[in-house]
Amino acid sequence: MITPHKIPVEALMTSLQNDKAGASVLFAGIVRDVNKGKQVSRLEYEAFKPLAEKMIHNIEEEARSTFNLIAAICVHRVGKLNIGDTAVVVITLAIHRQEAYEANQFIIDKVKHEVPIWKKEYWADGTYAWGHNCNCQLRQKDLQEYLFHHK
């Protein structure tokens, strides 16, 4: 889901409660004040909403079946965000913690790499830069190797 509003993290957690779930993992991506050594003043996120929402839904479904989840949800915010604001939330519920952890990382990695959402960082010195946020090449230890190939 894509939203221009503050993400209601507690309400999302409550809505997903399930007696079969022995583990619930919450990841929240938060706007921090420094990136690559530069002071950040704020961020702005843009998305191609129709396709982004469809792709997030498909990623949630893939995670549910791959990791045998009870529930999975990802909500990404768009618009202007300040330091400390929550930009993205992923919640995964499973019978055991291992699946919940692994599925949560699977979802956020894939959302960051594939879904048409873009970050614009505004620096404290008045300049800005469009983000290059996907770090899956670094996790693969090979700059030519992506976790998820689309190109």
Binding site: G29, Y45, E46, A47, F48, P50, L51, K54, H76, A87, V88, I108, V111, K112, H113, E114, V115, P116, I117, W118, K119, K120, W130, G131, H132, N133, C134, H150, K151
Partner: protein, 82 residues
């Protein structure tokens, strides 16, 4: 023979192109060759366009996909959400 399509761009591409514009292209132009045509229009975006994908509202299109007259398409730069 040419067709006309409507193109939307996002994020950093808006610094090189209008957010929405019409373009006449040869029939049978593929996604890959459209990105090359756009790179010729705006050489400073050529490197970035090589990493872009083309989409409809429903899906990312295959590289060899071609277009119909009056199609609306979306140029998708590399993602940076999260």
């Amino acid at each position: 023979m040419e067709i006309e399509i409507t193109i939307h761009v996002f994020a950093v591409l808006k610094e090189s192109f209008e957010e929405k514009f019409e373009m006449k292209i040869p029939t049978e132009t593929s996604c890959t060759s459209l990105l090359e045509l756009l790179g010729k229009q705006q050489p400073r975006a050529k490197g970035l366009l090589g990493k872009c994908r083309i989409a409809s509202e429903e899906a990312i299109l295959d590289d060899d996909c071609t277009f119909n007259h009056n199609d609306t398409i979306y140029i998708i730069p590399p993602s940076s959400g999260g």
